[in-house]
């Protein structure tokens, strides 16, 4: 045993040396892009960005450093280790807001790209409210590839028609409860939830919170100017609890996409989800406004919850020139038009050809242009990761015990730990 063990470890050692040697021998003609876009639509969208880049800058070898795992659960540890160890990739995917400014900018892991916004004319074609979420002390730190709308409320139109329920342009919590009671009488749970990944139900809460407090109070909550045990917040928690009463029984054994599939199968009627769910409907061959429909999550009409994807320039990037070209490509009109239909998001630029997008995306673009833009906490933009985790943990318990006071107390504690206090 021992002899073989020794041989084996020598072989492993030799292999490690070869790998280390390869890592050192870096070429000038490379660009390393780190992301966790590995599922079908995401990988295709990333590939579309690569194609645009290769057309603009031929000859550069792109190292696609993806690490599989939903929501980057496996990728983030790898990225964090590389950043702490001083061997960053050239660029990686980020959410604007806290994740960008609080984590990467504050730790000086990224370099500003303010000049690009002037030279590429992005200041004119990207909404100021969006640029603000990437700005610190007058410097801009990322460019967005696309923007998801987080507060979608999707429904099975066939199922609702069969039960005599029609949905207008908007929906209130009361209208939802009325529809849900009709469905309940027919033995159908109104709400599809797949919270085996707890963020899905945390997002349901987030949307319900926004619907109850409104965009202005939303800003105050995350700026620390409004308490998390405010009566209005508790009202939202009670409304969330009411909605949970109508959810499918097997919610905790489903993932978010299985919940969307249950909606398509007619096992339940509504699903509160960002518009990455739209890709699921398209993949299943369903038709907008015939088989399925959407409104804003009850009470959130007039708000647009931003869940955006962007790229940064690493501080100490091994190939800074190539990375700047990459960021220019990501912000270009061709890339935005190629990437977004595949990813299911809308472009961060407002000057794209709307003909290239379907009815949902045109609806979302109208909302993007006219509504209040608010950042998502569940997806890391509105609050520090520490609060995001506290929110997820509090929701995990609340789904079972429905204790509003304990829920509020946990969020107050989380906000205090995360240093979310008024300036």
């Amino acid at each position: 045993m021992f002899k073989y063990g020794l041989k084996l470890s020598l072989v492993v050692l030799a292999l490690l040396l070869v790998i280390a040697g390869a890592a050192v021998a870096q070429d000038a003609g490379q660009l390393e892009v780190f992301s966790w876009w590995t599922s079908g639509g995401e990988a295709a969208a990333l590939d579309a960005l690569f194609q645009v880049y290769s057309e603009r800058v031929p000859g550069v070898e792109i190292i696609n450093a993806t690490v599989a795992g939903g929501g980057g659960s496996a990728a983030r540890p790898v990225l964090q280790t590389r950043l702490a160890g001083g061997t960053p990739p050239d660029t990686w995917q980020v959410h604007p807001g806290w994740e960008l400014l609080g984590q990467y900018v504050a730790a000086e892991y990224v370099s500003p790209i303010t000049d690009l916004y002037a030279s590429e004319g992005w200041n004119e074609v990207m909404p100021q409210g969006l640029i603000d979420t990437m700005t610190q002390d007058g410097e801009i730190y990322a460019v967005l590839a696309g923007v998801h709308r987080g507060n979608g409320f999707w429904y099975n139109k066939t199922l609702l028609d069969a039960n005599g329920i029609t949905i207008g342009e908007t929906m209130s919590v009361e209208e939802f409860v009325a529809a849900a009671d009709t469905l309940k009488a027919a033995g159908i749970p109104a709400l599809c939830v797949g919270d085996s990944g707890i963020w899905a139900t945390a997002q349901l809460f987030e949307n319900t919170l926004l619907g109850t407090v409104g965009p202005e109070n939303w800003m105050k909550l995350f700026a620390g100017e409004m308490a998390w045990d405010d009566d209005l917040v508790k009202q939202a928690m009670a409304a969330y609890s009411t909605m949970l009463d109508y959810q499918n029984e097997d919610h905790s054994s489903l993932s978010w996409d299985q919940a969307v599939a249950a909606l398509m199968d007619g096992k339940c009627a509504f699903n509160s989800m960002g518009d990455w769910a739209y890709g699921e409907f398209v993949k299943a061959g369903l038709v907008d406004n015939e088989d399925f429909g959407w409104v804003s999550h009850p009470g959130t009409a007039g708000s647009f919850v931003i869940v955006a994807d962007g790229f940064v320039l690493a501080n100490g990037a091994p190939h800074p020139e190539n990375t700047l070209e990459w960021l220019k490509a990501v912000g270009s009109i061709e890339a935005q038009e190629a990437f977004n239909p595949l990813k299911g998001s809308i472009p961060a630029r407002t000057d794209v050809d709307r003909e290239k997008f379907g009815p949902y995306h045109n609806w979302s673009m109208d909302s993007f242009a006219n509504d209040s833009l608010v950042a998502s906490a569940v997806h890391g933009s509105a609050a520090p990761a520490l609060f995001q985790q506290a929110l997820n943990d509090a929701v995990t318990v609340f789904v079972v015990d429905r204790d509003v006071d304990a829920f509020a107390a946990a969020l107050v504690q989380g906000a205090a730990d995360a240093g979310m206090v008024a300036n």
């Binding site: 964090q80 892991y109 085996s196 995001q388 985790q389 079972v400």
Partner: protein, 347 residues
């Protein structure tokens, strides 16, 4: 999570050091061991110290912060006052007891069955069948048992298939449909009594989370074959004369096992329990693939907490504090075992 690896590695160091004492012939063994000793000192014990230091530091964002947190040890106070971590400790205790109990009993049962029928020609086949699950990764086991215990599509379908639910319906009862890993119930709650004693309200329900039972069954399925192999190994060392002597004294076959063989297997039982203990204390992959954190953290484990706190919430100090607590838990098990085996090798 380096601590659990550290515990396992620490075990092997001590064992090889024990061997080295016997074979000490000059400098060669020392030189051969030196590289791995250096690696161990740096990558195991060095990093345990680093982990301990981070747990006492202010590092709770992405950027490393090596200043000491004041007041000293506050992170540990935070940790133990976190309801989620309290639930994790409860789960570790409950899971450990359940898992070790059923894995040992089932493993021993299988070993007795095989030993009793060892002359049958099919026995080598079954011996392998029972051992096979041990060759799988916990991830595979977790995913497979997740499907089995899915309340909509798993074994609950058998209740329809075998007519149990039809029978219940004819009696006017609700159909049998356990939630398995999705059931948030905490059975045998001690909160009422404890709150009276302590005089404070407790956020965590102390009791047996029902959702842990399927997880313990999956763990048992994977490791009972290994337990069986350990016991079978022990049984081959018991000579036939002892069995014969017991039979001549009038013992039935059952009494031979009950009064003679199982008591003689005591050292094996101790090893089995120690090995299963350190599996259950650091369990991560099985739980995260099978049930995740579970409803209201019914199946959350310290290792999952360490992972999420460190890499999702970027609270490095809190995550490392939890890792140190895991190390101490493992040390409670491993250190007495090591001391005992060292003492034996010296005798």
């Amino acid at each position: 999570m380096s601590n659990s690896a550290a515990a396992a590695a620490g075990q092997s160091v001590a064992l090889s050091a024990g061997h080295a004492q016997h074979r000490w012939k000059g400098l060669t063994p020392f030189l051969v061991l030196l590289p791995s000793l250096i690696a161990l000192v740096i990558f195991v014990y060095g990093f345990i110290c680093v982990t301990l230091f981070i747990s006492l530091s202010n590092w709770n964002t992405l950027k490393p912060d090596n200043t000491l947190r004041i007041p000293f040890g506050q992170t540990y106070v935070d940790l133990f006052s976190t309801p989620r971590f309290q639930a994790d400790l409860r789960n570790t205790l409950v899971f450990t007891v359940l898992f070790i109990l059923i894995a040992t009993l089932v493993g021993l049962g299988l070993a007795i069955l095989i030993d009793f029928n060892r002359k049958l020609f099919v026995i080598p086949f079954f011996r392998n069948v029972y051992l096979f699950p041990y060759a799988l990764s916990f991830v595979v086991t977790g995913v497979a048992w997740r499907w089995i215990f899915n309340p909509e599509t798993g074994i609950n379908l058998f209740f329809d298939m075998f007519g149990i639910n039809q029978l219940l319906a004819s009696l006017g009862q609700a159909p049998l449909k356990p939630g398995w890993t999705t059931d948030p119930t905490v059975a045998f709650q001690l909160n009422g009594i404890l709150e009276q004693v302590l005089g404070t309200e407790m956020r965590v329900k102390l009791g047996i989370p029902v959702a842990l039972i399927p997880v313990a069954i999956a763990g048992m399925w994977q490791l009972s074959g290994f337990v069986m192999a350990m016991y079978l190994g022990g049984m081959t060392t018991i000579s036939d004369e002892i069995r014969e002597a017991a039979r001549i004294d009038g013992a039935t076959e059952w009494q031979v096992y009950r009064r003679v063989i199982i008591p003689l297997l005591r050292p094996v039982t101790i090893s089995v329990v120690i090995i299963l203990l350190h599996v259950s204390l650091k369990i991560f992959d099985l739980v995260i693939t099978m049930s995740g954190v579970g409803p209201a953290f019914a199946t959350d484990m310290p290792a999952i907490y360490v992972f999420e706190t460190t890499f999702k919430a970027t609270r490095y100090n809190l995550g490392m504090a939890a890792a140190i607590v895991m190390l101490i838990l493992a040390a409670f098990v491993i250190v007495p075992y090591l001391a005992r085996s060292l003492r034996q090798s010296e005798e």
